[in-house]
Point group: D2
Chain length 453, copies 4
Amino acid sequence: MKERSPVCVYEWRYGSQEMRQVFSRDNMVETYKRVELALLESLVELGVAPPKALDEAKKAASKLSAIQVYDEEKKRGHDIASLVFLMGRLGGEEAARWIHFGATSNDVIDTAWALVIRDALSIVKKRLRLLIEKLVVLAEKHRYTVMPGRTHGQHATPITLGFKVANYVYELARSYERICDAEKRILRVKLGGATGTMASWNGYGLELRKAFASKLGLEPHIISTQVAPRDGFAELAAVLAILASTLDRFAVEIRELARPEIHELWEERGSAIGSSAMPQKANPVTAERISGLARIARSLVHVFLENMVLWHERDLTNSSSERVAIPHLFLTIDQILIDANNLVDRLRVDRDKMKRNLYLTMATATTEALMNLLIQRARLSREEAYSLARKAAQKALQDQKPLWIAASELPEIRKHLEDVDLEEVLRPENYIGEAPRLVSEATSYARAVLKEC
Amino acid sequence: MKERSPVCVYEWRYGSQEMRQVFSRDNMVETYKRVELALLESLVELGVAPPKALDEAKKAASKLSAIQVYDEEKKRGHDIASLVFLMGRLGGEEAARWIHFGATSNDVIDTAWALVIRDALSIVKKRLRLLIEKLVVLAEKHRYTVMPGRTHGQHATPITLGFKVANYVYELARSYERICDAEKRILRVKLGGATGTMASWNGYGLELRKAFASKLGLEPHIISTQVAPRDGFAELAAVLAILASTLDRFAVEIRELARPEIHELWEERGSAIGSSAMPQKANPVTAERISGLARIARSLVHVFLENMVLWHERDLTNSSSERVAIPHLFLTIDQILIDANNLVDRLRVDRDKMKRNLYLTMATATTEALMNLLIQRARLSREEAYSLARKAAQKALQDQKPLWIAASELPEIRKHLEDVDLEEVLRPENYIGEAPRLVSEATSYARAVLKEC
Amino acid sequence: MKERSPVCVYEWRYGSQEMRQVFSRDNMVETYKRVELALLESLVELGVAPPKALDEAKKAASKLSAIQVYDEEKKRGHDIASLVFLMGRLGGEEAARWIHFGATSNDVIDTAWALVIRDALSIVKKRLRLLIEKLVVLAEKHRYTVMPGRTHGQHATPITLGFKVANYVYELARSYERICDAEKRILRVKLGGATGTMASWNGYGLELRKAFASKLGLEPHIISTQVAPRDGFAELAAVLAILASTLDRFAVEIRELARPEIHELWEERGSAIGSSAMPQKANPVTAERISGLARIARSLVHVFLENMVLWHERDLTNSSSERVAIPHLFLTIDQILIDANNLVDRLRVDRDKMKRNLYLTMATATTEALMNLLIQRARLSREEAYSLARKAAQKALQDQKPLWIAASELPEIRKHLEDVDLEEVLRPENYIGEAPRLVSEATSYARAVLKEC
Amino acid sequence: MKERSPVCVYEWRYGSQEMRQVFSRDNMVETYKRVELALLESLVELGVAPPKALDEAKKAASKLSAIQVYDEEKKRGHDIASLVFLMGRLGGEEAARWIHFGATSNDVIDTAWALVIRDALSIVKKRLRLLIEKLVVLAEKHRYTVMPGRTHGQHATPITLGFKVANYVYELARSYERICDAEKRILRVKLGGATGTMASWNGYGLELRKAFASKLGLEPHIISTQVAPRDGFAELAAVLAILASTLDRFAVEIRELARPEIHELWEERGSAIGSSAMPQKANPVTAERISGLARIARSLVHVFLENMVLWHERDLTNSSSERVAIPHLFLTIDQILIDANNLVDRLRVDRDKMKRNLYLTMATATTEALMNLLIQRARLSREEAYSLARKAAQKALQDQKPLWIAASELPEIRKHLEDVDLEEVLRPENYIGEAPRLVSEATSYARAVLKEC
């Protein structure tokens, strides 16, 4: 295969070299060999195959390259059969007898998937852990940095930046926890032979499986057809698509707050060109890429859900789609996590703009506090209090005065609250409730999750 | 609202009355009221609101109907605000002050979702548990009932019916376990006020949340924006779509094995009409409905993934889609589980047909055993053994003789295996490996899962 | 079936009564009867059945209600068979012989789908046409209303509001055209009998189909299995999901521009309550509902794609999912279109805010014009011009001066452009290019599409 | 970039070299250059830029490689800006001024997409046309080859193989037609500058666009934002996913009919290895790959639907996902079409097995004909006729006698039909209705479609 201009952007543009390596054709073949050797070693341990077979097979494995396997596949139309054949030929007589003894291709393939997915998930978890840790720092740093809360895109009661970030900390910690929960169903070796009955290993199949699994550091699937159950792959895709979607939400957060009219947060871009036509632009392209790639992650879930519906002891329809979708899924998530980390590193905060935006709507964001006062102090019904508070807010917006002044100018309010320092109560900076304590709640939760798994 | 011809089949055709009740408009409003009362009771306990408010509110709640709420909504354009207003008016002065104090609509809505989803999941788990238990019985009963294994739709090494069923037992137990894992992230109350900061409850927000959650028997979300994090809903949808897809696989199994050419298993249909045009048909309509509805379940996952990407402290886009998709998701799963239970009850097994099908391909399904013999006894390489065994299989198919006879007629095989009772080794009935033990492994696993959660 | 609290929001909350009527159980049964009568009338015309059969069947049809059919279905497990039986019993001897003669259920069901989908599409097209017409008016009215263009959420070269709207006019006209293109593949009757071979009508099947189709005002499918090909349904779902997504984009436009920091456009909300906790809020809830429901529309596409993969001459898996998904799809689109029309009616425009926002970024949005000047007048390379223009833009932002002043203060720019009235060239209001002409291009295109189909 | 072990199977395993070439990084850059030159040539024609600029740019284009562009991008963070810069530098002074004059990156990118998609669609259409033509031949050849019809996986009234194939001919011709319909919305150049207003080309923008489009042999989008409207891409994905799903249905057809119990059709596999464990297997792996890859095609639709919802005059979120999804979509379809053609070439038919299967269910597939006879000759009601016919079918199955014998042994049937040659009427071979004529209908339709577009 000669050098060719790549057609897939995951070859060069998206995803890290580290993740690419995991799913490279070479590493897949290395992993197949590793699995074959683990099986053979287990057969030797149980006295089924002679030790010489293992020695020969190891020697063969060290010589055999992926290119050879796929050249052989052109003849045989079957990649694992080609690998097995070549390991026998390169190894010697005993290897040629005992390699793959009793196994089916998917004992190798599905176990190899478990192994490379373990490696890939460990990259994902590493990046996610780092991201959570950075966000914990950010949340704690900005525990008291007041900014507008926003619901429906409209100003709502104020929050702190630390509180905003702490919500992402919580959601990302949930994702981390969810990955850990899923691993116990996903990261399992599969060994069962052609239809899962271990027929070739009658009498010692379960022992063999135990030895095999233990060599590879994983638990085995309790039972399987020819293939490991595909619910695990669907769960994997779902769990990663959920993570991608949380980061999409984070990216949208940044993209929105970086608008020139808002400009509370943005990603520093250094000297990069903003636009080929508009030199002045500083576009949130990292965040936009996260949002774009999250769509790929979401779309792949369906592939794995459909793949679950295999016929009887399996059909082959999962094979081609997994060859495509598993690497793509992980490279997508990888790029998203790299971008998210990068984004947090380059995040800039303008506290002044936050404060100015708070007052853009004349502190009407604290109208709720006024309503509560009227309920508590003036003993009004919620309905009456709501009405009055709304009236004050409308007056504030119309007259372009802070809410506390507008409120104090309404006699029907003033009469109830004469002894209250309205400015004290209604200044947005003072109305952040338990936000700082909730930051601690969220970061503690995250730390516990990261510690446990 | 007068009686109208329904437009949605979940109103009458699919899903149980029990599940319908959970998501009925009436029960949603009942649950909203229950949440409002739990909040008010907590406020009273903390000394914020007077006990009288709670008494009044309870009285109001007992009088207030869903229809009144939605009539009021027509005026107000907001359902929770309407409910709050009406509970105040029907209750009395103190209720009218303290109902919903400090809360935002989604404190009520998201907590209500958690409560009804708890009920709905308990129906799901009940039906799933029952189904697993039935399949455990079936698996154990047919531990030794030999039938063709099938991969790619082609005959593969034999299995037992019990082994086939045990694979479903395992996969369904994994689904059960996955639901339990997900519950800890999904079934949480949300209490935080307008943007999640608990601003109205400054100084006692966390205590209030604790009391509130405990009254409703759930843990609270550690932190939230205006809404509970939507990753939980996406996980819920994914987990249920995975369950639906395992049952889709089961339904396809039955539909395939019920073909007249195969006819090893089928659903007994009693006197139902098979077809309006073809009186002779006995169609697997229950299984087909499972497969059809599984598509609805799968498609809904995407709604919840997109819903995660809310702006800032929330936007409203999740609201309409959840009103549609949550009830539909559960009614879909409900019908699928009802159908699956029903299908297992009415499943008929033809052991003779299984045996006859085993021999349809001249016992070539055990060619692997022949290959293994040649490796073990004749010390052939896998490549040579594979070749010879294949030759025997081809001969068997061509001459329409059982494999053991075809093999013994090939001198190059016979010379190696003269002392072997080929019939004994190659009879499909004898080549089921550890299938019976694996049945026990799977059922033990399932029992442990059902016991634990 | 007694009055029950609804579980599906399409029964009462989303979608018009007009659309609900089309897919109501009653209308479905009315349509089945209409199809049966069209078939019988065709059989009579061809001399196969006696005229009396038709008279009797018409009489029966007029008496038979949906409730009777579905009560009978409980016994028979088959709705069309129940309808056919009841039409015979209520009609008389000849009806009881000739009703449904030679047909299969899906001759009736799929033809009925075509008929109700025709009606439903005509509601969709009516609402879409109205929407396009309103947007044409809006585009023309605001042909010259200058506002910031925005890419990446950042200010880009200015546009006019009319130009912005004209893009939606174009995209919606494309949707209209796409629906018309799809109709010729979707709106076709299906008549072929049990497996599509017309075996019962041997010798006159094609003539019968022609008569039948013509009575119902549609073309027939050229050939079919037991069912009409499901590619048409998938196309329908795709076409409507595309429409929904364009309107989602429109809704996002409004939601974004209604932010308090931007506030160029918003939906007037009258006296509706903004929020249960925050009286001051004026939330873009109509637009948010469009975005939320668009997710439902998008998700349903997958159902119809999976439904295409039916076994052989059909399996039943499409049946349950279509009963759910077809009405839901249309009710979703219906509500989206109602909301979109409503949104346009209530759209408010603040030209002053648009102008102020234009200057928020110091007219740097026209930096491109400066670059072009430097290329054209100063004969600089693009690279040099880009660099200089960017410098000017940065200066403008730093000094908070309009770009034309910042530019003129840079000697390296001024020296090239001394004779140019920079303010004239760089004022955003003057830099709208062909926007007004493009409005005309788009509206002409839309008018032509609306005229043609 | 050194040779690396590929991570994406589309680089080497799936898709043709021909299709890979279209979306290779090299060809993308070639196409960008071609678009830049077309723009510059148009500027020269309109007298805006000097002819020398074009000469220089052409020279530059001939020297510039993709690798250079992407190396430059590492510095600039923008691929089109890098290309423009390098074309200027390699070209000369005038090129450096006029290249890309007035344009935005997406004038180049979206027009390039249109051009490569045109090429890719022409490969798709070529392969699809070939496939349809082969199936037309197959349909006509087997116009009279009787086989069981199957609904619900159960035997239904007989069909002919030609009729079965003709249904695919019809469905695939509809796909071909749908692609042609969609092309007029998809294959359009985009030229509008930064926000689509043509501000840099004020006064001659529309003329420039016309010249530009005509050089590239396409119509322009009537209006656009910074980017071409994304509805076209969503339609493209939908149209191709529909095609993939029809071929998935075809693949399932073959996979099912190749089961050993049915074995009416199968794919000849030559000497390929069936299985690593089971030498005797002849697995339908080509058909299975079609089904597997169709899932990838279906899943990608959602990416493009989400991509439609861009902010204002565009955001960048479509960019990354399109770089991934457009090539993957086409390589997926490409492999599916190659496989489908291949499958048809290697399709083997066993007419005897078809006939034997017809009688497996004792000719009860023609029970409908018996019912019709009873209605027509015996003047029974459908209900009575249905009952009697069903009784005969049950007797046939129970006694294992052909239906005509079973029927004639029932006195209540015989009395009505004494003068009828039941065997003549009820032999499945005689009950194929208009199947042969419908083959002609379908092939004529397909020929007309292929001729027209």
